[in-house]
């Protein structure tokens, strides 16, 4: 099975650099999913959650405030301002959830966007 290379970069460094089966991104024109070998694309990202499907079928959610994504055949690069990663395996999950919520709230997005993002991270956090 093909995998895509995913990289998430923030001003404070690379927070995610691994392979994934699929990634769902909060584009400014709507949410979209990227599978391996997606056509080249550059998109603005809105406040929301990046959902990463790991090769072992677990999921990771990364809450972001805003940024860009550049997709090409080889790899997907997300350039974001602020990000908090949440995965079910994390030991201090509660703190990560809090951080993610604070980040989303500080982004001045609409309430619905925040609510949907929060519900997504909570769902993945419970897995």
């Amino acid at each position: 099975m093909k995998l895509l290379k995913l990289e998430i970069v923030t001003p404070n460094g690379v927070i995610f650099d691994a392979e994934a089966k699929q990634v769902t991104l909060p584009g400014s024109e709507g949410e979209f999913g990227v599978l391996p070998e997606h056509a080249t694309l550059v998109s603005l990202l809105d406040t929301g959650v990046i959902v990463i499907d790991n090769p072992d079928n677990s999921q990771i959610a990364v809450a972001i405030n805003s940024g860009y994504v550049k997709v090409d055949e080889e790899k997907t690069t997300c350039i974001v301002d602020g990000a908090v990663a949440i995965s079910g395996k994390d030991s201090n999950l509660a703190k990560a959830l809090e951080d993610a919520k604070a980040l989303l709230k500080s982004a001045e997005a609409s309430n619905t966007a925040i609510a949907s993002a929060v519900s997504t991270i909570e769902r993945i956090g419970k897995l």
């Binding site: 990289e7 923030t10 998109s43 550049k70 090409d72 055949e73 350039i79 301002d81």
Partner: protein
């Protein structure tokens, strides 16, 4: 010859200064390591951002015959008004670090004045502000505390104000001057053209892999947002770079100061010993001549 007591006091004071400079050197080297780490991490982000900007600029150049038609890319042929943003430290005791930046800014001002271009200054860091205030040069904008602790939010606020005046046509060009970090012992003045984006720096000619899709697809929305981010980030990165350079400059200056103090203690000790010996000799002569006269 200075009295024994006086020399002793002097040695004490030099030793104390040496203690201070040594401590400052240690503090600076610790801070430098941290700042270096920060710079290393944010360099990745800068690289990626420039990559995406490259990609989009290239696409736009391919679609438009007469180059890139965007306000942020259009080079003004005859600039009339220029903004210079420069970064200095808030504190001194770091050798020629601040002086170098100020010198370069002065040179730029002189150059543009000769071409009849109006120059506005925007200063970050207390040392630069103090200098230009003392010389009665008007500063358009000043900010203290940012160069000692770079903060993305604050840097973005500061620079977006500058960028706005560029969009409004109040200024034709924005130049950023700061003293950058090369390695532990070298700093280098960096002068970058912030806006319009220097298209000669972008690699427009590399071959793109496939047709690039943009979303939102009105090119300008994406590009405007991207350029804004690029400008903000360049500012932020320059602040970090400048901070690293400041620490390395201070480290060097303090190292030199410590060595000089060591030298000084050495010469003073020799002087002290000589003076002491002289005093002993004088005393001996007095005793001996006293005994001679009693005979």
């Amino acid at each position: 010859m200075a009295s024994l007591k006086e020399i002793k006091r002097k040695i004490g004071s030099v030793k104390n200064t040496q203690k201070t400079t040594r401590a400052m050197k240690l503090v600076s080297s610790a801070k430098l390591r941290r700042t270096e780490e920060l710079a290393k991490r944010s360099r990745v982000y800068a690289q990626k951002l420039t990559e995406v900007l490259n990609e989009i600029a290239r696409k736009m150049q391919q679609t438009n015959v007469d180059g890139i038609d965007n306000v942020f890319f259009k080079e003004c042929e005859t600039p009339k008004k220029i903004d210079i943003v420069f970064i200095t430290a808030d504190k001194g005791l770091c050798g020629g670090f601040n002086a170098q930046t100020i010198k370069r800014v002065n040179k730029l001002i002189a150059e543009y004045k000769a071409q009849d271009v109006k120059v506005r200054l925007r200063a970050v860091g207390r040392k630069g502000i103090d200098y230009f205030k003392f010389n009665n040069v008007e500063l358009n904008n000043e900010i203290v505390g940012l160069s000692a602790a770079p903060d993305y939010q604050q840097a973005a606020e500061f620079i977006s104000e500058v960028a706005e005046s560029y969009v409004n046509g109040e200024t034709d060009k924005i130049i950023l001057v700061h003293n950058g970090y090369v390695n532990m012992i070298t700093q280098e003045i960096r002068q970058d053209q912030l806006l319009p984006v220097d298209s000669s720096k972008l690699e427009l000619n590399s071959v793109s892999t496939s047709e690039l899709e943009l979303e939102p697809d009105e090119d300008d929305t994406l590009l405007d947002a991207l350029v804004k981010r690029y400008v903000e980030y360049t500012m932020y990165y320059s602040l970090i770079d400048s901070l690293a350079a400041e620490h390395s400059a201070r480290m060097q200056a303090m190292d030199a100061a410590t060595n000089n103090a060591k030298e000084m203690v050495k010469t003073l000790t020799v002087k002290y010993n000589k003076a002491r010996q002289e005093a002993i000799t004088t005393e001996l002569i007095e005793i001996i001549s006293g005994m001679e006269s009693m005979k």
